[in-house]
Symmetry: C2
Subunit: 168 residues, 2 copies
């Protein structure tokens, strides 16, 4: 880790915006920049926790998604939609998970275009162990206050709905 800065660089940026006559958008600029930086910090923690398992966050997310599917299998396009990533990213992740023996591809029984991804027994076990570590090392020690967590869920939920993620 690099040593802490003496001053908050985002607060500095907000002041810069204000002194340049962009005061009307300085606050949302600061909020958005803070989200970017927070994501970066959290991603580093998550990847660090998953490293011992040979997993990246992208691959873990796919494993976790499959482990919650009743049948343990999902079509690629469904996984792409639920994880909200590009289909090629799923292809990439499945390639590596398959090489590691954690998932297998199998043809869809009725639609020849579709490929199903299925957890192996190993994959299911690893997903369980990785989730336990993430829960303990990252989610359980997030550093967010309990009330702040609820605020975040509401604020970001409103935002995601407004951005067209879901209609719920």
């Amino acid at each position: 880790m690099s040593p802490p800065l003496p001053r908050d660089p985002i607060a500095d940026a907000q002041r810069n915006w204000e002194s340049h006559g962009w005061g009307d958008v300085a606050a949302p600029m600061a909020a958005i920049t803070a989200i970017m930086r927070t994501q970066q910090i959290l991603m580093a923690r998550i990847e660090g926790a998953l490293k011992p398992f040979g997993l990246t966050f992208a691959r873990y997310e796919l494993l976790a998604l499959l482990s919650f599917a009743r049948s343990g299998a999902l079509p690629m396009n469904k996984a792409s939609a639920l994880l909200q990533v590009h289909p090629t990213s799923v292809t990439n992740a499945v390639d590596r998970l398959q090489t590691a023996g954690l998932v297998v591809r199998s043809p869809h029984p009725t639609d020849g275009r579709t490929t199903l991804i299925e957890l192996t027994a190993e994959g299911r076990t690893l997903a369980k162990r990785a989730t336990a570590v993430l829960n303990g090392e990252v989610f359980g020690q997030s550093g967010f206050g309990e009330e702040d967590v609820n605020q975040l869920i509401r604020i970001l939920g409103d935002f995601r709905r407004g951005a067209g993620d879901f209609t719920d």
Copy 2:
């Protein structure tokens, strides 16, 4: 854009966590996942707004940082620290900005190890125009309520301080 999902996938994940006996960390898990997704949405908007200028967010951030430096020049290591990215990422960004004629490298007057990055006139102009577009198209239409913006700045500021970003 892919069509909206009928249900919030993050709320689903939270319910899954609760039903698997991880209720104690379900809320922070949901908050962290929401931050990840929100960052993804915002990044796509930002990159879209910058595309006409041939800039990525990483390169824009560097230009903006230089444009706020009194002298219009910064050492690479200083830029790396302020942007909170790896030094090699700065090298990469400078390579491309230099090719585009927006910055130049120059030797540090007293420290032979250090390379200064300096804005060109073109770089300064482009930074100004790109900032105007970002302010208008992204920060000015973030979709966050005014009070939520203040909440985010406080909550994420507390988090970043706790994570060791700054001591302020």
